[in-house]
């Protein structure tokens, strides 16, 4: 168990809990942990960066029982952490586009911390409303080298940044400039939109999938998508692989393991659809 050392309130419903754990500190961008809030439950959580030797963090949105238990863990409270699990983003050099929705920003923040100082990175953040935007400032912090960092927020209600879905912002960015790689994490239909947009332009793209995860180690099968075992083959997949996966953007396995459709499958992205509340 790890003791929570610091709690940062990112939005009214999102908190970052920092702790010390060498293995989590060294996690690759995109890797996740199984995080146990004793008495509340255990959930897969992307490993968040945190400044300081041996430090790491989780950034959690309060929603159902387990995430609320984790969200409610105060400084000094204990959480169980196993992992890191899964593969990681293939961090390229050059002009990078990061497209995150909600807590999908978490692995992108770790990716950003691994981007080169000379890389030019554009970060597109999607949220429903202004009060739900977080990591905007951190994402925009200038890198050490000659590179740049640009952050653009989209909100569905237009209360901050541009009005509309972040997928529209991504389409526009991809149309306007040349990118060497695109990385996305968030609701699956959002990712479907981003993957399609990048693939249509022949740009390398990776997305990190979310599924029901019990073991995290490729044993229980609860996280399967097509022939992929997301916790072990992924969670990060290349765009073309995903587009060939019959489940991507179309269906996921519910807690019983039965397939369930994502809202308006393969149609317009609908943030918030699917499992979890990420």
């Amino acid at each position: 168990m790890r003791a929570v050392e610091e709690v940062v309130q990112e939005t009214p419903t999102v908190r970052t809990l920092a702790f010390t754990d060498a293995a989590m500190h060294a996690a690759l961008p995109g890797q996740f942990a199984m995080v146990w809030a004793p008495g509340a439950g255990e959930l897969p959580m992307s490993v968040m960066v945190h400044r300081g030797e041996g430090k790491a963090a989780f950034t959690v949105r309060r929603h159902g029982p387990a995430s609320s238990g984790l969200f409610g863990t105060a400084v000094g409270g204990l959480i169980g952490v196993r992992g890191p699990y899964g593969n990681s983003f293939d961090v390229r050099r050059g002009r990078l586009l990061l497209v995150g929705g909600g807590t999908g920003m978490v692995p992108l923040m770790r990716l950003l911390s691994r981007a080169g100082g000379d890389d030019d990175v554009t970060v597109l953040i999607g949220a429903r409303t202004a009060g739900e935007v977080f990591f905007e400032e951190a994402a925009g912090r200038p890198p050490g080298g000659s590179g740049s960092r640009a952050v653009e927020v989209s909100t569905e209600d237009g209360s901050r940044g541009r009005k509309g879905l972040v997928t529209a912002a991504a389409e526009e960015a991809l149309g306007a400039g040349r990118f060497d790689a695109v990385y996305t994490c968030g609701p699956e239909l959002m990712m479907l939109g981003v993957v399609r947009a990048a693939t249509a332009r022949g740009v390398f793209v990776q997305a990190s999938l979310e599924r029901v995860m019990k073991c995290g180690v490729g044993m229980c099968g609860s996280c399967c998508a097509g022939a992929d075992i997301v916790c072990r083959d992924g969670t990060v997949f290349d765009g073309d692989h995903l587009l060939a996966n019959p489940d991507f953007g179309r269906s996921y396995r519910n807690k019983a393991g039965a397939p369930e459709a994502y809202g308006d499958a393969r149609g317009a992205p609908a943030p918030g659809a699917g499992i979890g509340s990420r």
Binding site: C220, C224, A256
Partner: protein, 313 residues
Amino acid sequence: MAPSLSTEVCPSLTIGAPTMLASGILGISADVFARVAEAGAGAVVTKSVSREPRDGYQNPTVTGVRGGGWLNAVGLSNPGAGSMAGMLAAAAGGRRGAPVIVSLVGSAGPEFEQMAGLFEEECGGAVAAYELNLSCPHVARVGLEVGDDPALVREVVRATKGATGAPVIAKVGLGSARYMDTVEAALAAGADAITAINTVRAMSIDVAAMRPVLSNGIGGLSGPPIRPIAVRCVYEIALQHGAPVIGCGGVSCWEDAVEFMLAGASAVQVGSAVAGAGWVGVFSEINAGVRRYMEDNGFSGVREVVGLAVQRR
């Protein structure tokens, strides 16, 4: 001539390699079954399905054990027999890979009869055998609670046999009654083979959290810790009944597989070991090791190895 890996599990079921995917492991997707078959498994056993879908328990449902092995109480989450049958039927068209054994779980004969009937109807040709889970140690009214009641075991085996011509395998475990009574009841009622064993009822308590780790408190222990117990059961069943046995429990390398074969198992199931570094590569690794063992020792087939250690000290 290179020795053959093919093995007769029971007279009506011969598979191409002696390693099977155990029930509950990567067990809900036909696409994944095909992949596990490509990885070398001679057969795959589905997650145990019940008549109705089950969500199972909340996480934590799986935890590693200090000192080795795994503990789980997923609570038999499964999409239900109907969903599984539909999936297998859909997959049966472009069917690749190894035989699929459907694992059934329930509380009484009629349930098993209905489920087996449903599979026979929807995808009969795609089901190589049925495995009856009489041994899940952490869910009320099913699994061990059935296995611990020999009369119920007879009823359940007969009901399944009545609904299908495919081989019926009874999966037994260490419950609170004599497991050998379960074996005897199952064989008497016509079971074609026995799988031994399921996970063993166990518990992990976190000393910092000061509470059981699994949300269900009690779960089932799997992996290397239970192998010597499972080998003993296979040996005892082979010694006392000479019945076809499938060994299960802690198989993670070829020595483990051979150990089970020497004890009397005509095939082994691999469960938790897929969580290891080689992941599903564990099947081909084990198969290669078993083949090398047969070569080195002059065996031409699995049958020559099976049961060699029985009554030999």
